[in-house]
């Protein structure tokens, strides 16, 4: 475990140095993020200019939800999506061989090897948005609630991770799956509103095929005190199951990998 943490630190350090070579781009990315989050909050404010509640969600609660949305996106974009992009490339070109030869868990390596360090700023901004929202909610946040929030946030990220891993694993059979990922990103946008505002057919596709809806709504519910320990435990069980299935699929896919020379 310690070994893997140390390895992850090494990955992060390398990628940070790499990113700092393009300093101008780095600052522009942060500027873009301010723009995106600012306009998203603007959208929510405009809608709440006409109402005080949306399906039982108040404005401060919606702000919290938006913050969680960017936290989850930030987490996934920080580590998993850059790593998976490279993985697909490796599978197509055949350079995955080099990863397979290393004496570490391959799934860990391909999931975490590449980071887009600048996305850590998303995490920070997302957190700020959550805190601002919570201050507006004004309710007392107990230790138990914070714990449930952190747990469900972690489960949410892992839920999205397992889905991404499953999608990327398909590249062993289909070689070109970028388009599937494009669909995934298109659907993630739905996470900006609570999952319960969507009509049934969309909710089913959001919550099962693309669990982003659950991933975002659950933590926001947990911190607002609308989700108890049992709910979080169920979410955890679901996440463990999802990660298990995705890992099994990954190992199955790896067996179909034929390498560069084949």
């Amino acid at each position: 475990m310690v070994r893997y943490l140390r390895m992850f630190r090494a990955f992060a350090a390398t990628e940070f140095q790499f990113e700092m070579e393009y300093r101008g781009n780095f600052y522009l990315s942060i500027f873009e993020m301010f723009l995106v989050i600012g306009t998203s909050i603007g959208a929510v404010l405009i809608m709440f200019g006409h109402t005080t509640t949306m399906n039982g969600w108040t404005l401060p609660e919606m702000i919290v939800l938006l913050g969680v949305y960017y936290l989850i996106q930030g987490g996934v974009n920080l580590v998993f999506s850059p790593s998976f992009e490279r993985l697909m490339e490796h599978v197509r070109v055949g350079t995955l061989d080099f990863h397979l030869l290393k004496p570490v868990n391959v799934q860990f390596l391909v999931s975490t090897r590449h980071l887009r360090v600048v996305r850590a700023a998303d995490l920070l901004l997302g957190l700020v948005v959550v805190i601002v929202g919570l201050l507006q909610v004004g309710a007392q946040i107990g230790v138990a609630q914070s714990l449930l929030f952190a747990l469900s946030l972690f489960f949410g990220v892992m839920l999205v991770y397992s889905l991404l891993l499953g999608l990327v694993t398909l590249s062993f059979w289909f070689v070109r799956v970028e388009n599937l990922l494009a669909i995934f990103w298109a659907f993630t946008e739905a996470g900006r509103f609570p999952v319960d505002v969507y009509p049934l057919w969309l909710r089913v596709s959001l919550s099962t095929i693309v669990p982003i809806g659950i991933a975002v709504t659950a933590p926001a519910n947990a911190i607002a005190g609308r989700m108890d320990a049992v709910g979080v435990a169920l979410l955890g069980a679901g996440t463990v199951l999802a990660v298990g299935i995705a890992s099994a699929l990954w190992r199955r896919g790896l067996r179909s990998y034929t390498g560069a020379s084949a």
């Binding site: 781009n25 990315s29 873009e32 006409h50 399906n55 946008e189 509103f193 505002v197």
Partner: protein
């Protein structure tokens, strides 16, 4: 010119036929955002007892379905593709051809829209059935919509090209694209129909080109404008289109000099 276009069309249809699934997948991008906001506004409208600022729940449905169709028909991706072509050095051979690169992308753009239109309408039908939609237009709304959507598509395409020329100076234009997309997100009527925006934002919306691409054709298709207003909007669209063409010609000529100066 017509003969050239006929040849280009045939070639592009053949090229597009290879990537049918891909074309359908990209169509999802046109659909998802309007549906998300439609769902949200339906929730708001329900909370307010069935109507918000003159829009009933079914008006919202009509507006956002119209917006889906308009958004799809005005899609332009040159600002993304052009940067890639410049960076990869693929622009240079295109410049050697006697035909301006713009014409190739006109054809690509048209073919994609034509081939994905039917599936898009099917999806819109499903959405229309899910949300109780009510169309409140007259026949002349449809007649007005035809020139309006053509102008909007041309305007969106030309703005895409103006932004694309920024590549000549900046190399990476991610930030410019994001800036533009987010401005359009706020001011083009994606968040809300324009009349539901705060007054100050409405003024900005009507003075920027983005609403003339999305919100205005959508309002016309929905049947939400009077005839005089509709005609006025058409004039606005035409003015913006003219401006964008002038801007493009100017930027292209200046940019091309810059491009050869780098020695690419």
């Amino acid at each position: 010119m017509i003969r050239i276009y006929r040849q280009l069309l045939v070639a592009q249809i053949q090229a597009a036929a290879q990537y049918r699934i891909q074309a359908l997948l990209w169509m999802l991008f046109s659909i998802i955002r309007p549906v998300i906001f439609l769902a949200a506004w339906t929730a708001v409208s329900t909370a307010q007892g069935g109507s918000v600022g003159g829009y009933t729940t079914s008006d919202f449905a009509a507006y956002y379905i119209a917006l889906t169709i308009v958004g799809h028909l005005t899609t332009a991706w040159n600002s993304f593709e052009f940067e890639f072509e410049v960076r990869q050095g693929r622009l240079s051979p295109k410049l050697l051809r006697p035909l301006h690169p713009l014409h190739y992308s006109v054809v690509e753009n048209l073919i994609w829209k034509v081939t994905t239109f039917l599936p898009l309408m099917l999806v819109c039908l499903v959405i229309a059935l899910t949300f109780q939609v009510r169309w409140s237009g007259e026949w002349w709304h449809l007649a007005l919509f035809v020139p309006s959507i053509v102008l909007a598509a041309a305007l969106s395409f030309m703005i895409g090209w103006v932004v694309a020329t920024a590549t000549f100076w900046l190399q990476r234009i991610n930030t410019v694209n994001t800036l533009l997309q987010r401005t359009s997100f706020i001011f083009a009527g994606q968040i809300a129909p324009l009349s539901l925006m705060p007054a100050a934002l409405q003024v900005i919306s009507y003075s920027l080109p983005f609403a003339y691409i999305l919100a205005i054709p959508a309002e016309i298709l929905r049947g939400g404008v009077t005839l005089e207003r509709g005609l006025l909007y058409l004039v606005g669209q035409a003015v913006w289109l003219g401006l964008s063409i002038v801007a493009f010609r100017f930027a292209w000529r200046a940019g091309l000099r810059e491009y050869s100066a780098v020695g690419a």
